[in-house]
Every structure is written in C-alpha cells, then in structure tokens.
C-alpha cells in the first residue's frame, strides 16, 4: 500500500488515511490537543503527508515517518495555542472511587478516572509525555521511537520510567491497591 501511494495511486492514499487516522488522532489527543482541535490537526497531518510524499524514502519505516510528522504537527499546535492547565478535580468535589478493581467500577467513577488520568498526563513535561504516549498507546519500540524523536534509545528508556513514576505521583494514591502482594 505504501509503495502504491509513493507511486501516486490516489486509492492507496485513501487506504492509508483510513488505516492510520484513528492511531494518529489518538496520538494527537494524548499529546494534549483539545478535543475540538484533534480533527483539524489530524487533517493537517495527512495534508502534510500528501504534500511531502516525494521525500519519503523507500528504505524507511512508514510508521515512524508518519509519527514524526504527527509529532511535529502536535508541537506546532502546542506552540500556537496557550497551554491550558488541566486541574485535578479537588478531592472535596467527587466521591473518591473505590480502589480500582480490575474490571473498573461504575460509569461515574470511570468518568472521574478519565478526568484524573487526562489531568495527570497534561501535567507531565512534554518530553516525558511524548515517550509515554508513543510507548504505551502506539506500542513503538524504543528503537523506533529514537528515529521519531531523534534521541538515543537509552535516554528514552530512562524518560519512560520517569514518566510512569511521575504519573503515579500525579494520580491520587487512593487509586492504588496498597495491600501487600505476595
């Protein structure tokens, strides 16, 4: 499909868009783009892909190349907009969910959890958030990530560990099961 797209097949481009629009939209949303901007930014990413088709090297990996374009678009959008600080919902305003069970609890608790996780992700520094999103949601290996982020894989591994630890610190401790696991 990538090869057909490189040769200018419009049908191949449509297939590419259908295959990658959801992962790219998810990536952009996790990187902090507002919900109402994700669709437009996603459109922009694929427009850039369409315009720079000639620069894609046959020997390269399309996935990492695409995420590079998406990352640049997300960074451009972040620079353009004012950073909105997501505030954690104050403890007095919500009923703290029960300790997170494996299958999740009620819908309201799930909604609260989503807000908490979004807020905690937004609090991460951009460098850590990029690595976390690419590793957890997009399942890129550290070698693939190093091509996207142009940073050594060993540095990215350490950033990923820091990102998880900081995320844990930003989430309420009531979420964690503190019982000793034997």
């Amino acid at each position: 499909m990538v090869e057909r797209w490189r040769r200018g097949d419009p049908g191949a481009f449509e297939e590419l868009v259908r295959r990658w629009q959801t992962p790219i939209a998810r990536f952009l949303a996790r990187m902090g783009c507002a919900d109402d901007q994700v669709a437009d930014l996603c459109q922009e990413v694929f427009l850039r892909v369409y315009l720079v088709r000639g620069r894609y090297r046959e020997t390269g990996c399309f996935r990492t190349w695409l995420y590079q374009i998406a990352l640049n678009a997300a960074r451009d959008a972040s620079r353009r907009r004012q950073h909105r600080q997501c505030r954690l919902v104050p403890r007095s305003n919500y009923a703290p969910p029960e300790r997170l069970a494996e299958d999740g609890e009620s819908f309201a608790q799930t909604r609260e959890l989503i807000q908490l996780v979004q807020a905690a992700l937004a609090k991460l520094p951009e460098l850590l958030r990029e690595v976390l999103v690419l590793r957890h949601y997009e399942a890129l290996t550290f070698e693939e990530m190093s091509r996207v982020l142009e940073t050594p894989a060993s540095t990215l591994k350490s950033r990923f560990a820091q990102a998880l630890i900081r995320l844990k610190q930003h989430l309420p401790s009531s979420l964690y099961n503190t019982e000793t696991v034997d």
Binding site: A25, E102, I114, V117, L121, H136, A161
Partner: protein, 209 residues
C-alpha cells in the same frame, strides 16, 4: 540488585522491554522484597488507568486534503511568479541605468539631461582620437568648455548676490541710524516738555501757598 536499581527497571519489566538476564534478576529481587512488589503493583494500576482514556473518533476527508494541497501549490507558484517578475524588473532597471549612457550638457543657459545612443563602456585606446581633434574628443572638449562657462556664470551670480545683500544690509543700517536719531530727538523734546509742565504746576502751587 538493590531496590533503587530494581525500581528504575520496573517500567521496562512491566512492558517487556528487559533482556532475559535483566528480567530474571528483577524477578529474583521481587520474590524477596515487598516494597518493590508494591511499587510494581502501583505501576500496573497506572498502566491500567491509562487504558481508560477513550480514543477520539475522527474521519479525515481525503478530498479536502487534495483541494488544500492544490490550493497550497497554486499559492506557492503565484508567489514564485511574483518573485521572478520582481527580479526581472529589477534586472531591467539595473541594465537600463547601467548600460544606457546619459549625457549632461548645457544648452541655452539650461542644464539638459539627454539619453544618448548606446556606446561601448570601454573605448579601445587606439579608437580614441587625440585631444583637440574633431569627432568624440571635440564633443568632449565642447562639453568641458560649456561646463566651465556654467561654473563661471554661477560664481558671478554668487558674487552679485553677495553684493546685493551687502547693499541691502547697509541701507537697513542707515535707516536704523536715522530712526534712532529721530527717537532721541523726540525723547529730548518730551523730557523738556515734562520739565516745563512740572515747573508750571508745582511752581504755581508753591507761590499760591
């Protein structure tokens, strides 16, 4: 491995990014360390919490992409056409100014700017006739004479203007002197009249007492 080293590797262990040796060492440590096990469980909870975030639904419009791409290409071409036109215009002006000679000459008391026909920029020495002879040298000589006359005329004008200015200044000076003398006379008359009045007024009053 100590707890600090293990906890730094827990994220990698959780996501299966450790080599076999490393993973085994972690497992051995976890078997005997409850605090590291708790930390691992907490990170597992964080990982599960991350999966709760929903993925947005997006439908990218391919036709709009192609229209936008065509629009951008057209704008880029228009911009390059404008740049090319401006560059050509600048080059044409430069060539016209540099290669078209202009002659400055004095005719009937006026300075005249005239476009002449194209001449080579560099005249070969053998093609130039000696000074004083007819042809190009004669023209140049005539122009130099004209310019000399123009300069002399300008100098004479300047002298004449200076002389006029001096005369005017002298006339003004004379008039000022005359005016000053008249004022002095009037002031003297006024003082005399005031003294006379004072004498009449106060001298009568003293006699009356």
């Amino acid at each position: 491995m100590n707890c600090t080293q293990v906890q730094a590797e827990l994220a990698a262990s959780l996501y299966g990014d450790l080599e076999n040796d490393g993973a085994e060492a972690i497992h051995l440590h976890l078997a005997s360390c409850s605090s590291c096990r708790q930390e691992l469980v907490a990170l597992q909870q964080v990982r599960q919490a991350l999966d709760f975030l929903p993925a947005p639904e997006v439908h990218v419009q391919v036709t709009r992409i192609m229209e936008d791409a065509a629009g951008r290409l057209e704008r880029r071409q228009r911009l390059w056409r404008r740049v090319a036109a401006a560059a050509m215009a600048a080059a044409a002006v430069f060539l016209a100014a540099f290669f078209s000679p202009v002659r400055l000459c004095l005719e009937q008391g006026q300075v005249v700017l005239r476009w002449a026909e194209l001449r080579p920029l560099v005249v070969a020495p053998e093609a130039r006739p000696p000074l004083g002879k007819e042809g190009v040298a004669g023209d140049l000589q005539a122009e130099v004479q004209s310019l000399r006359k123009l300069v002399h005329a300008l100098v004479a004008d300047v002298h004449a203007c200076e002389h006029q200015q001096q005369q005017k200044l002298a006339a003004l000076h004379d008039r000022m002197n005359v005016s000053n003398a008249q004022l002095d006379r009037r002031l003297a008359n006024l003082n005399r009249d005031l003294r006379a009045l004072y004498t009449v007024q106060f001298g009568s009053a003293a006699k009356g007492e």
